[in-house]
Amino acid sequence: MAAEVKLLSRNFGSPESWTLSSYERAGGYRTAVKALRMDPAAVTEEVKQSGLRGRGGAGFPTGMKWGFVPKDSNSPKYLCVNADESEPGTFKDRYLLELDPHQLIEGIVITSWAVGIHRAYIYVRGEFGLPYHRLQAAVDEAYAKGYLGPRSFGTAFDLDVTIHRGAGAYICGEETGLIESLEGKPGRPRIKPPFPAVVGVFGGPTVVNNVETLSAVPWIIENGAAAYRSYGTEKSPGTKLFSVSGPVARPGVYEVPLGLPLKTLVYDLCGGIRGGKAMKANIPGGSSVPVLTREEAEGADLDYESLAAAGTMLGSGGMIVIDEETCMVRALSTLMKFYAHESCGQCTPCREGTGWLRGLVARLEAGGGSPADMDKILSITNRMIGTTICVLSDAAAMPAASFVTKFRGEFERHVGAGRCPFRSDPLLAGAARRQDHA
């Protein structure tokens, strides 16, 4: 459809798009050859000019991140590719890994050349079967062709790429948790500073970039920063992959220019809500960002600044659409169970806070809460934001605070009725069935 702009996802529909021959037929790896003839600083500068921002969730400018790595380092530098996609509602990196792994490898080659890196690790989520096998096959093909390994593309540049499988821990998607895990430890995030760009994995300066971020690099170097900036907005240039899930007619991955009205994505591209129902709420950037009401969502545009102005975040672009029949207390209860399960436990506000939020929301959902619980939840979330080593604590607190603030009436109805008003009463349901038989 017209609203889509396929830069990173242009090969998704090609036959066997994940193979080297398919990628090269579409012009793949020519940009890596071009980049290897460029001055590394010029490659970084082009990415800086493009305005590309980290697509994993934080939205930090990519070129600037590369620039933080010291040029003259005594210890080896590393690239860590974050393919540990596990933010609830997010599945776009899975598509990039399954359908175009060579585009990612080309991005890794160009990035490593720009920053002066000779060893890259791709940290792949443990649950990913097909993406892992396709990526491994692609890396093997690239080695066999001499694109990876010593003298990459016949130049004097050496680059080794190793795929490293995670083993089931949301926290390893946090960049320092990922680094710890890669070193063979439990994935407990590190205190910053030092930032990974200065002291990262194995004690060396390290760039940690998301799959989607690196997959955008070849297009930018091939077509130039100005061409990339012709899409999106002034402050949020380019395109972004959105993963849309929930009760929409056509859930899936959509690449659109940043700044697209949220309504266009939900109602046009995804075909609106199933069964002619209305949208009640929208979580635009993965489960960790504040929820939007229908009115807020319908007025928002999908870029970093517009969503910040609406009181939420673009995050990973993992959009969860919630329809009018959904109980918001139940939805929050599910999310709180997740964060309590995934807290690594090293910071007290997060370890205790996520447990309290899970308990309080579950009790409210079951109809056993008290009128003071909503304020208690808000008070707990206040103490969880900005008080811990990493942002998992904030990631639990932000949805909790926004659900309670924006849908307080639903929470109060649970307390008032002593049960969930969205669940049909089993006794009444039984009576209705008996009437049907009569």
Binding site: R94, E127, T162, G184, G246
Partner: protein, 191 residues
């Protein structure tokens, strides 16, 4: 009468070795092919410790789970104390510390799947298998687990069978999926 002879570990190999895998005749030492892979693995990282996760995966891929003895073996190869390796194994949810069924069924009940009916699908799974999350069916074919988001939300509600995603699933689709797995196992003479 020699009342203590049977329980004397020196005379009964099944009691001498507490590891159920070795009692079943699986050697816990690495095979020659695995030794080659370990050498290659160690060459990919600047520290031996970094090879812990890949080595644990190698063991789990071969045996289906990770026996305690294997953790010590990994610790030794990676030059870390066994306590450190245990700390790693127990931190990650995918490392199984006890044997399970032939197929691992993982149902996602996080928000995107819940919105599309995961709770109902879990009920269907319970009814069809006669077990709940964390349990293994009596025929040894399936172990069921409830998991967090699998990054396959467009297929919601989704069930992962070993490393394959299946979805969206309703009760009928689930029945067909389970029947297919059972038929395959029967053909291979597993049950």
């Amino acid at each position: 009468m020699q009342p203590f002879e049977r329980s004397d570990p020196a005379h009964d190999p099944t009691l001498r070795d507490p590891c159920p895998l070795r009692r079943l005749g699986h050697p816990l030492a690495f095979s020659a092919e695995e030794e080659d892979r370990i050498e290659r693995l160690l060459s990919r990282y600047p520290t031996r410790e970094a090879a812990i996760l890949p080595m644990l995966w190698m063991i789990q891929d071969r045996h289906g789970w990770i026996p305690e003895e294997a953790v010590s073996l990994v610790a030794e190869r990676c030059g870390v104390p066994p306590s450190h390796a245990y700390g790693v194994v127990s931190f990650y949810t995918m490392f199984r510390r006890e044997p399970g069924g032939r197929h691992q069924l993982q149902i996602c009940t996080n928000l995107s799947c819940q919105l599309m009916g995961a709770e109902h699908l879990l009920d269907c799974l319970r009814r069809r298998l006669g077990i709940g999350p964390g349990e293994t069916a009596a025929d040894g074919l399936f172990t069921l687990n409830e998991v967090e988001c699998l990054a396959a939300c467009e297929m919601a509600p989704v069930v992962q069978v070993d490393d394959e995603f299946h979805g969206p699933l309703d009760d009928r689709g689930l029945g067909e999926l389970l029947d297919g797995l059972r038929a395959r196992a029967a053909k291979e003479g597993r049950i």
